[in-house]
Amino acid sequence: MAVATDRELLERWRSEPAPLLPLLHAFHERDGFVTEDALRAISRGLRTPLADLFGTVTFYHHLAREPGGAGAARVCTGLICRLNGAVELLERMRAEGAKAMPCSGGCDDPVHVLVGDDVLVGTAAGTLERRPALLPPLNPGDSRECVFSHIRTDDRARIDVYEDTGGYEALKNAVRDLTPQQVIEIIAASGLNGRGGAGFHTGTKWKLVAEAPGEPKTIVCNADEGEPGCFKDRVVMDYDPHAVIEGMALAAYATGATRGFIYLRYEYPRALVILENAIAEARQAGYLGESVLGTGSRFEIYVRRGAGAYICGEEGALLNSLEGRHPFPRNRPPFPVTRGYENKPTVVNNVETLAAAAHIVRNGADWYQSLGIGHHAGTKIVSLSGDIQRPGNYEVPLGFPLRTLLDDWAGGARPRRAIQAVTMAGLSGGFLVGSHLDITLDEPSLRSRGLFLGAGGIMVFDDSRDMIEMAHAAMEFFVAESCGKCFPCRIGTQRLEERLAGRAGPSDLGPWLDEVNDIGRTMKAISACGLGTAAPLISESLVKYFPEQVERHVRRSRDETATLKR
């Protein structure tokens, strides 16, 4: 096949909304890296200033600017993969040009490696194996599931199999029997809250978009699952993509939206193919397209692959990224419900939220309510990883005891080990230890302790781990992902990382703690987005729960500095 010309690539993508990311990927893959000529062509083709375009390209982790960089292997050096030999594996692969990538959402089966669009599992010994993504472990309790209720069915990603278990019935029923307002009422009554971390009431969000003036409206599925230790959206997209599409189509029907985007993180190439197939099937079957199920209403879904930036999971940065702008978070208000994609009303929902919505419209608000424990509505998928017998995604009823999840469902710590700490909200909730693990997983219980579930990532560290090292690795992640827009996060993450590494900072414990606490307090209070407010929870919880390790660390750093000076 002939290599596509610049003009062909530009023509291909300019006809679709949000063309910059796919254009960059197209040139990147064609040329093996992003060349200066490619940027000049895109700049002319999209009428985007060249300096802006260049700056934006440098923002993304995976867009190579040297020849051959596009095909280089990428080894995840996230926390969990590090515990499983990622650093050793990377060293072995360096000679072939392999590069490190931050947590890439393969923590249930480390070490996660990308070679081109191949997803592999590596080991410290240097072996690489291609094997299918793990399904969620069978639910060992008798609690009912929502999002995972059919996910273990063979070939669930095929539309006929999806339809066999009631798939797309919710959409058909809604279009036939329900007004858009009634769909919103069902979602609102179910108590479904956003499952991406912020926990905003989904029914309210849909209602705000439905009522907001301005057309066209947009549904954005936030599939930029970048939070370290979170890999739940990936499994939903890999094994139940039509649930996500049906959820988006329902959201579109409810709000009057005519276009949808799935903003997928770069590191999920398998999901990219699966989603694109599923969208084509759904279009063929009339669930998407110019006239959804013959209603005359249009709804198209476009998959847009990110290029490696944690911050693009923040909805303002995500929207800027889609629009081809520099992916800084946006100032809020205005919120996306009134000024979202291209300043028009936009629903931004997480993958899990949208998949749950399809089940809720099919089974009813009361059914979803009843899945939770006590007065807590519904379920939440928790991604469990690290030093635990059975890592994986577990769909737990809200209000579920964390201890039961860790010890009974996931089999507890490894033999002869005890759990030293777990993280909450991936890395964004800091560490939790000891009796603090006796909590139930629901926002009220967590918030009353200053915690939050976030996107539902829980990493487990047993008593063989050096918590300073874990905290340092976590802070390295935030340093690498801080966007640089706001001062407290840009400088604060760097200074915290240096102190956790022992490279800089006061040599006496008192002043050391003062600095770390002052930075943390300031970042938490006045950073511009969730990254900056969450990152210091790492150092804060470290200082709070591991005072001896901190004291030893400061003393050791001082001694090493003294040795160096001598």
Binding site: A309, H326, V479, A504, D518, S527
Partner: protein
């Protein structure tokens, strides 16, 4: 921002215990600013869209769990705001200490640029030279960029992006942008090149909005060693017909630089490369200071005005006598005042009877 909608009814809010009227659409910062509050900021330039990056302008708002950036938050009816609680002042001090820790130096010559003292002034106001938060520095000065006008001393950069925004929003050049992210952020041009190879027009607006002196007026700082205080004289740019207001900077009798007048009605702080940098002619050694006429030897010789004017008149008359009245042509300097331009066209039209008169600003 100019609020011109007369239908908008004034609303009320409370800042630091005092009720204040505001026009819907105003931000907390704008209202506080015109009420005489000195909320600190480093990323804000009133001519630019609010950015919300530096977080120094955060204020407490009743009902909001965390402080909000006053520059990006619009006032709402009945809003209760506190601008200077101990807690806020502490955050601001820590932020400034962090900024001090990332830079090579804080105190810079005022000749670097119009806003160059903003950072040092805030550091002093918050007593932020504590030496805390030591670590690696951010920013890399571009010592390789030897253009004659703009010093790119990014060792002093605090990533407020005022330069990037002024270039895009005010000048429309989009010559500079942001590369990398987080602490590795750098201000850059396309492909990290030199300004001369970029879309830069050397208007100098980035220099004048830079709050740390990281971008500096190279011509002005070459006069840093000159004795004497810098004096400012308000005048109008002598180049084209726009009439940009400028403040001419002098040390003694020497012109050392130009600041655009932020309140200049025609330019609101904007200038072009000529108004900003091309002032050397005023005191240049080659500048004519006496009339010259060409002698028999072919060289120019100093003379008096009467002799020079007689020679010029004779030259014009000879040409017209030999070749007709349309054989002469005058081009008026764009830098000439109206009166001189008027006289010149009169000279051509009434004096010689030709319409061959033009000006040099036609390009």
């Amino acid at each position: 921002m100019i609020m011109s909608n007369p239908d908008r009814k004034l609303q009320k809010m409370v800042i630091d215990g005092v009720e204040i009227d505001y026009t819907p659409g105003e931000t907390i910062y704008q209202i506080a600013d015109r009420s005489g509050k000195h909320i600190p900021t480093l990323c804000n330039d009133p001519r630019l869209e609010p950015f919300g990056g530096c977080r120094l302008c955060v204020v407490e708002v009743d009902g909001s769990s965390n402080p909000v950036a006053s520059c990006t938050t619009k006032a709402t009816p009945g809003m209760v705001v506190r601008t200077n609680t101990d807690c806020l002042e502490e955050y601001r001090r820590v932020l400034l200490e962090l900024l001090v820790s990332e830079n090579r130096e804080i105190d810079v010559d005022t000749l670097r640029g119009y806003a160059s003292q903003e950072f040092a002034e805030l550091v002093d106001r918050y007593d932020a030279r504590s030496g805390r938060f030591v670590g690696v520095r951010s920013g890399r000065s571009r010592t390789d960029d030897d253009n004659p006008f703009i010093l790119r001393d990014y060792d002093l950069c605090i990533s407020c992006y005022r330069c990037v925004r002024v270039c895009a929003e005010r000048e429309g050049d989009y010559a500079i942008s942001v590369m990398n992210r987080g602490f590795r952020t750098q201000i850059t041009t396309e492909f990290e090149g030199l300004l001369a190879d970029s879309a830069c027009t050397f208007c100098g607006q980035c220099i004048q909005t830079c709050p740390t002196g990281a971008l500096a007026d190279r011509k002005a700082i070459s006069a840093a060693e000159l004795q004497g205080a810098v004096e400012k004289t308000r005048t109008v740019c002598p180049y084209c017909g726009v009439g940009c207001s400028v403040d001419i900077l002098t040390k003694g009798d020497t012109i050392v630089g130009v600041h655009p007048a932020m309140d200049g009605p025609a330019n609101l702080g904007a200038l072009c490369v000529k108004g900003q940098f091309a002032f050397d002619f005023v005191q240049h050694q080659d500048r004519l200071s006496a009339p010259l006429v060409r002698g028999e030897d072919g060289e120019l010789h100093e003379t008096d005005w009467d002799t020079a004017l007689d020679r010029a008149a004779a030259g014009f008359s000879d040409v017209v006598a030999n070749h007709g009245r349309h054989s002469v042509y005058a081009v008026a300097s764009g830098r000439a005042p109206n009166e001189a331009a008027y006289i010149l066209q009169k000279f051509m039209r009434a004096g010689w009877g030709t319409n061959h008169i033009d000006n040099c600003s036609r390009a």
